[in-house]
Symmetry: D2
Subunit: 350 residues, 4 copies
C-alpha cells in the first residue's frame, strides 16, 4: 500500500514518517512540506538519519493523491477543510489529524474555533477516529478524523464511567498536564527552553477547544448533554499527557464495580492498559511509561471522603494522541492487525 504524509515537517508528520517507514505493509511514497521541498527528510527529522533517502515535495494535494492510496494529513487547523472535500472525490482514503473534521455540529466550529465550516456535508461523512469507540465505522470510512491529543486521553478515561451513568455529568473536571511537543515545532517565547523549563504553566485554565470533542463523544455515549470542566497545564517534559479526571458519584460504588465497568468497554482492546497496582512506583498511569508507544494507560481511585472518583489516563500525545491512533486507524481501514507497526516497547528509564 502506498501512503503519503501531507504536512510532514511538523512533529506529528515526523512521527507518522517514523511509524510508516518501519510499517511492514506500507511504502511511503510522498512527504510534503512547502518550506522544506527538495530537502532530505532526515535534515528535519534527525532521528530518521540513515533510514531513508526520501525528500520532501511541495504540498500539492492533486499531485500527492496520484502518488498514494492512503493520505495522512497533518496540517494546522483550518487548512485541510479547504482541499479534503474535493480530494475525496478521487476515491483516496484520508486520515486527517487536524481538527477540521472532528466535530459533527458545524456550529461548534463557530463556537470553539471561531470560523464557519465550509463543508458541513463532509462532516457528516467523516468518522471520529477513536478505535475504542468507533471501530466498525472506521473500517468502512473514507475520511477519518483523528482525535485531538487531550481529547483522546480524556475520552478514553471517561467513556466507561460516563456510559455507566454512575457519575454527575454536569461536574466533570479534567485537569490536563501536557508536554512541550504538544505545542508543535514552531518556536515561540512560550516554548523557549529558558521559559518552559521547570514550569507548571496553566496555559488554558478554561475554554480549551478540545472541550468540544470530549463533550460530543461523551454525550453520545450517555444520550444526554455532558459538560466538561477542562483546564490545561504545560509541564517540563517533551512528550506525554496525563489527564486527572475528578468526577462526583451519583451513588456509592465499589472498586470492583468500577473495574467491571472499565473492563466491559475495553475488553480485548490492544492499546488500553489498566494500571492500578497495590504497590510499586508506577502503580498509577504516568506519561513517562508510554513515551513512543501507542498505549493509553488507565487507572482510578475512589475517594469516599468526598464522594469522588478520580480517573487517570496517560498517553504519548504524538502517538495515541496523534500519529499512533492514525496508524491504528489505517490498520483497521485495511483490515490488518491493529498492532502492526505499533509494537515498540518504551525504554525505561527514559
Amino acid at each position: 500500500m502506498r501512503v503519503g504524509v501531507f504536512g510532514a515537517s511538523g512533529y506529528v508528520g515526523g512521527e507518522l514518517l517514523r511509524l510508516l517507514l518501519s510499517h511492514p505493509k506500507v511504502e511511503v511514497t510522498a512527504a510534503t512540506s512547502n518550506t522544506y521541498a527538495g530537502e532530505y527528510i532526515y535534515r528535519v527529522h534527525p532521528n530518521l538519519r540513515g533510514q531513508t533517502t526520501l525528500r520532501f515535495i511541495k504540498s500539492d494535494p492533486e499531485k500527492v493523491s496520484s502518488l498514494c492510496d492512503i493520505l495522512f494529513v497533518a496540517t494546522p487547523h483550518g487548512v485541510s477543510s479547504k482541499f479534503i472535500p474535493s480530494l475525496l472525490e478521487t476515491g483516496i482514503k484520508i486520515i486527517d489529524l487536524s481538527a477540521d473534521f472532528r466535530l459533527k455540529n458545524p456550529k461548534d466550529y463557530e463556537k470553539w474555533y471561531g470560523w464557519s465550516h465550509n463543508s458541513p456535508e463532509t462532516l457528516e461523512k467523516s468518522v471520529y477516529g477513536l478505535p475504542e469507540l468507533h471501530r466498525e465505522e472506521i473500517k468502512k470510512a473514507q475520511l477519518v478524523a483523528v482525535p485531538g491529543c487531550m481529547a483522546a486521553a480524556g475520552i478514553l478515561a471517561l467513556a466507561p464511567i460516563v456510559k455507566s451513568g454512575k457519575i454527575d455529568v454536569d461536574k466533570i473536571v479534567i485537569d490536563f498536564k501536557v508536554g512541550s511537543s504538544g505545542a508543535g515545532v514552531k518556536p515561540s517565547i512560550s516554548t523557549h527552553h529558558a521559559e518552559h523549563y521547570s514550569i507548571v504553566r496553566p496555559y488554558k485554565p478554561i475554554g480549551h477547544r478540545h472541550t468540544a470533542e470530549i463533550e460530543q463523544e461523551l454525550s453520545l455515549l450517555c444520550n444526554r448533554r455532558v459538560v466538561i470542566s477542562m483546564s490545561a497545564h504545560a509541564v517540563n517534559m517533551v512528550r506525554g499527557i496525563l489527564s486527572t479526571c475528578h468526577t462526583f458519584l451519583n451513588e456509592p460504588v465499589t472498586s470492583a464495580e468500577v473495574w467491571r465497568i472499565y473492563r466491559e468497554l475495553y475488553s480485548g482492546e490492544p492499546f488500553i492498559r489498566f494500571v492500578r497496582d497495590v504497590k510499586g512506583l508506577y502503580k498509577y498511569p504516568d506519561p513517562k511509561i508510554v513515551v513512543g508507544s501507542n498505549y493509553c494507560d488507565i487507572g482510578f481511585e475512589l475517594d469516599e471522603h468526598a464522594g469522588r472518583l478520580v480517573i487517570l489516563s496517560a498517553i504519548d500525545n504524538l502517538m495515541k494522541g496523534a500519529a499512533g491512533t492514525a496508524v491504528q486507524d489505517m490498520n483497521i481501514m485495511c483490515n490488518w492487525d491493529e498492532r502492526e507497526g505499533l509494537r515498540y516497547l518504551t525504554p525505561h528509564p527514559i
Copy 2:
C-alpha cells in the same frame, strides 16, 4: 535575638538557615542534626559555603533551649510532639514546621495520620501560622504551627471565595503539582533522578493528609463543613507548587466581583500577589516565578460554559510553603517588619 534550628540537615532546615543567616535582626546560635553533629553546615548545605563557620550540634532539646530565644523545629512528623510540650515550659518561643500541632481536633490525627496525639492541651495553645488568616493570634503565640506546603497554597487560593459563600463547598477540587524538594532530602526510588525526570506522577490521587488542614481552616472561615477533593502530582521540577482549584459557583458572578472578594481579604498583604494579566507569558501564577521568594501568586478565571471558577496559586514549597512563612511568623511574633529577611527577588529565567 538568638535563634536555633532543630533538625537542620533537611531541606526545610537548610532553607531556614539560609534565611536566618542573612536576617538582620537575628543570630543563629544552634543548628542541630544527630547525623551530622560536629560537621560544618556547608558540607550539607553547599549553598552556604563561605557564609558561616557554624557546625551542627546534637539534637538535644534542653541544650538547644538554653542557646536560643526562638526555636524553629523542622523534624519529621510525629517527632516534635514528644518534646515541645515540656520545652514550652521553659518559656522559649517555638515555630514548628511539622504537622504535629497544626490540627485542632485530636481525632483528626487518628483519622489522617494514624496516631493519637499525646498532648491535646498543647494543640489548644498552638496557633496555625498562616499570617493572612491568623496574624493577630500569631503576634501573641508561644507556639506556632507552620502550615503544610500544599495546605498553604490551597488555603490561600480558596479562603476569600469560600468565605464569600459564592461556591459549592462540597465539591471543591484541588489538583496540586509539586516539585521534588517536597519529598525531602532522603533518597528513595521515587525521587531517583532516572525515575523522577519527565514524570507527571499522580502519587496521591486521594487521601492526602493536607486535606485535614485545608478543611479545618476553610470550614472556620465559612462556618460550615467544607469538603476538599484533593489530588497531588509530582512533576519534573525541584521547587514549587501550583494549585489548580476547580470550584462550582452557586450563582453567576462577574470577574469584577471575584476581584473585589480577593482584594478585600488580602488588602495590604506583603506576600500575596495577584497575577491575572491580559497578556504576557506569565499572565497566570507559575511556580517558576516565585522560586526562592515568599510570594503566593494568585489568579483566577471564570468558566461560564461550566459554571466554574478556576483559582490558581503558586508558591515555593520551601519558602511560603515552609521556611519563608516560618520567618514571616517570627517577624510577626517579634513585631518586626514582616518582610525582614524575605525581600529577595527571584532571578528570571531560572
Copy 3:
C-alpha cells in the same frame, strides 16, 4: 534459542529484557534477582507491563545454566568473576556486562579496581565485545565482555584516528557527559532528583576506571602506549553519553582525509552513523537522537587555530553502551543479522 538474564532487576537487566522479549529469534527463559524473586517482572520494569507474565527467580548460576543456552550477566562489578569461570565448563555461552572480564592484564584490575582478579586464565579466553573492533573473535567466543558505556563511546570515537597515527597519543582528552541512568537503579543522594536536576557535576574529573579499557583497546590498534586524559560529568538527562574528544594533530590534515580514515574503519558497520552536516540543528552527534537505539553517532571538526581535531560521539548508555551491544554480540555469536531486535527508531522529539 533460550536466553536468560542474570541480575535482571537493574537498568541494564531491564533493557536486556525489553530487547530480548521482542527479539524474533530468542525466548527469555530466566530472569534472576534475589531481591525480587517471585515478583512479576513488570512490577520492577513498568514499561514491560502487558508484555510478559515472567517472574524473577533466585540468582542461582547452576539453576539458570540449565534453563538457557545463552546467559547475559548484568551484576555489579566484582560479582560475575566469582561464578563465570566454573559456569563456562557447562558449555553455556556467556555475555557479561560487568567489568570483570574486560581487561586483559590482571594488574590493571589491581590498579583501577583495587582487587586481584581470581581467574587470569579466563581473562585470556574472554573477548572484548565491541563488534566494530573484534567481530571475528566474537563469532567464536564462549565468553564476551561487553565494553563499559563510556569506554564504548570513547573507543568508537577515537579508534580510526588513533590507528591512523595522525594524532599525539599522549595527550588525548575525553570529556564525557553522562545521563543519570548510568548510575544504576540504586537511589543515593547523588542521584536524588532535587540534587541531580540542572546539574553539570564533574563527578570524576580524573581516575575513572573506564580509562583502562580505552587505553587497552586503543593501544592495541596503534601498537604503542596510548594515554587517555578522561573526565566524566553527570548532566540533567536520563539516557545518553556524549564524548568530546580533544586531540592534537601531529601534522595538518584535511577534513577529507579525516572522513576517509573514519569511513575506512567503519565501512558497512550497521550501527555507526556519521553526523557532520553543513546545516540543521543536529549537525553534530547528540545523545537525544539515539535514545533507545543502538547507534553510535560520530562527527568531528578540525580546529586549525589550535592544531586540534575534535571528535564527538553519542550513544545511549543502556543500548550501545550496554544491552544493545550485548544483543548485537549475541546476534554475531549466533550468526544472525546483527540488527535483529535492534531496529527501533528513536522517536523525536523526546
Copy 4:
C-alpha cells in the same frame, strides 16, 4: 546615583534591573527597549511584578544620557560601538556588556567577529571589566567592557596557573557546558523546549568567539601567546556555565603548590570561592550552587596518570558572567563595597 539600562528587555537587561532595583545606593531612572517602549517592565520580566512601576522607554542614547550618571548597555554585539564613542563625550560612565569593547586589537574583531571596528581609539580607553585582574584600572575607567560569560569562567579558572608558568600554554583545552539562558531571549528552533530538553549539544566545538578574549587576557598574564582549544556545549539547564579546563603540566606539581598558586592571585577576592573538598556531593564546582549569585567557584584535580591538571570553574552566566560582574564593576568605579547589591544566597536545592 541615577543608573540606566540600555537594551533592558533581554535576559541580561532583566538581570541588571533585578540587581539595580534592590541595590541600596542607586536609583533606576531609565530602562530602554524599542520593542516594549511604554510597556510595564514586569510584563517582560515577570519576576519584577510588584517591585516597580517603571516602564520601558525608547532606546535613544542622547535622551538616556540625560537621565542617568551611569549607563549599563546590554545590546547585541555590533550595536553599542555605534553610539558609545560619541556618548562618552558627555562624561557619562558606561558599562558595556556586549563584545564591542572587549578586544584590544582591532584586527581581532575582523578575525573573530567578521567586522571592522569603527573606533579603535575607544578600544584603547576601554577597560576589560574583570575585577580580579583589572581592579585598579576599573576604578578609574569611564568605559568598562564586561567579559563574555564563558570568557569570565575560563579566564578565572586559568589565570593563576597560566601566570605561574607551570602548564603548556599551547595545549589548553576548555570544554564548556552552558545553560539555555546564554542563548538570549529570542526564540529559535535551537532553544525550542522540545529540541533543547535532555540535550548535550556540541553547538560550537571549534571557533567560538570568546576564544579571542580568553587568549588576550591569559597572554597578558604570562607575556607569551597562549592558544586556547575551546569547545562549547549546550545542556539541559537554564542558568550556569561549567568550564572544565584540561591542561598539561610542564613539570610535576603538588596539590599544595596548586593551592598556593590559586590563593596567591585570589586572596581577598569577595566572589571567588575555592571548592575542593574531601567529601560531600558538591566537592567540586557545580553551576547549580551559584544560580543567582555572583560567585565563581573554582576547584581542581591533579591527574598523575596523564600529567594533567584539570581546573573546574562554575558561574551563573547572567551574574558573574554578565550582570553580576557589571554591578561589581559599578561598585568599584563608585568606590562602594564590592558586594553591595550582590549578597544574595542561592537557595538549595533549586
